[in-house]
Subunit: 299 residues, 2 copies
């Protein structure tokens, strides 16, 4: 199979490409080798028929808020461009692309609901989340029309990311784990009582691969699925850090920012991922497992 | 005020333009004088600053299903183009446009929910409804960012339209009233037990004007409002026709089409328009009032 991965040099992309290279012809693209919103670049990527697309390229939350045009270009225009390209390929009699979109729990906005399940209406309050939800809707319609066979996985905070900032306002999810364990002081932009939704890169990659294989009829007409996520308070994360390194908790100072807390620190514990689970998607077992995994990967 | 009305030569547009001409500088545009998806045409429309936009131009349900590219061009691309133009005007220090979008209950898809209220999650199943929902989301985000001050009114079947077909799959809503009363036989594509949501042109225009004046804070962050609609079965409509013209009911023959019934004939009686009503939006009192209004307008 010929598989295109956009955002292929990102935190999730690199691991996904690594997993896909076994047995497939993988075309990984990222900003280093071309602009995914540039039709000429997409022409080159689709020079030979593509069977599967994993669309991970994104300008993330904070960066898209700070530079609307940059976010719009990648998160909306480039996504529409890719869907158009898949449609054109199908109309020419080429393969109907299985299109897996990395969506986000940012499709849910502030104030975050007291419970989130498969019936919760997305109501984004960031440009990033808006464009992710728009992509989900366009993918549902394109799938219904037979232009492609789409799926969208709503990812929560995927941790532990490396220190290189990618502009995500949710970066604290990773920073609060990585920095104290590396012996560095860390100022956390949400309080200890803030609750976040997390998953691991391992689970995110496994779920993207699994959702790509899932039977379309089993997913249903609405192709966006919220991935299972661990709901945990920052205080609980700090306690877990202490179980690994007794000195780590003291390296954290709290300086809560209300806007960040409202969008990123008020995720409900009352949640259901019934659709995802029925499709075989997985979450992480515990914060301890997640931290252990991080230490094994980086040591 | 300088007011732009797109789709200004349509059934609703003509009545809206007529109402607005008193005291305002109204620029009405429709396909006869330019392509709303053509940036050069939009340049001309925005040559002088615009204060208010009523965006009614659309390729409606059936036409957009039959010709995806035509629907996409007007319903999605042109709408995004207009939002961009408003943003550009605001960024240049011009007026922040009050942008009123004619949305549609087609944002709700099949199977239609047993109850629809302000908490019902839109899940469109037509390209038309998908693009309407996408526009709503982009309008919410543009409003939040201050690019414009948007509002979207989800209209149900606006009747009684003239016989000229505009490609709406819901055209039967008007046809079933107009044709038998004009003495013509009519074949109805949904059964007598099908239930539809209706409003009048008078109510639609009043609501568009009223929503344009509403205080943004009273509407809230989600700017799409479902307009009050009469829920009524085709059988009840036929009975009302009989009260005006005893011979009219016999002119109707039923030939139900399952696809049409599923999207257009299964609207729930269990419904709430609480948000719309709190904003002062109105529906029609009864099917008899609606038919009387039609007869007075056409006689």
């Amino acid at each position: 199979m010929r598989i295109l991965v956009t955002g292929g040099d990102g935190f999730i992309g690199r691991a996904l490409v690594h997993a896909l290279r076994v047995g497939h012809d993988v075309i990984a693209t990222d900003r280093g080798d071309g602009d995914i919103a540039d039709p000429a670049h997409v022409d080159r990527l689709f020079a030979a028929p593509i069977d599967r697309v994993f669309h991970l390229a994104a300008v993330v939350s904070g960066a898209a808020e700070a530079d609307f045009d940059a976010g719009r270009r990648v998160n909306l225009d480039a996504t529409i461009g890719l869907l158009d390209r898949c449609r054109a390929q199908a109309l020419r009699g080429g393969p109907v692309v299985r299109f897996v979109h990395a969506s986000s729990i940012a499709v849910f906005g502030t104030p975050l609901p007291a419970r989130i399940d498969d019936a919760t209406a997305p109501a984004p309050t960031l440009s990033y989340g808006t464009h992710k939800r728009v992509a989900e809707l366009l993918i549902d319609d394109a799938t219904r029309r037979g232009d492609l066979d789409g799926r969208a996985l709503r990812l929560s905070g995927v941790v532990v990311r490396p220190a290189l900032p990618n502009g995500a306002l949710s970066a604290f999810n990773s920073d609060v784990i990585r920095e104290p364990l590396a012996g560095r002081d860390y100022e956390c932009p949400v309080g200890a009582d803030a609750t976040v939704w997390l998953t691991s890169r391992r689970a995110a990659v496994a779920n993207l691969l699994h959702l790509a294989e899932a039977d379309g009829a089993a997913i249903g007409a609405e192709r966006a699925v919220t991935a299972p996520a661990l709901a945990i308070s920052i205080g609980e994360i700090v306690a877990a850090l202490g179980r690994v390194d007794a000195a780590a908790p003291a390296r954290i100072r709290f300086a809560p920012q209300p806007d960040i807390e409202a969008q990123f620190g008020r995720w409900p514990r009352d949640r259901s991922f019934a659709r995802a689970e029925s499709l075989g998607l997985v979450g992480v077992a515990s914060i301890d497992a997640l931290i252990r995994d991080h230490l094994e990967t980086t040591s």
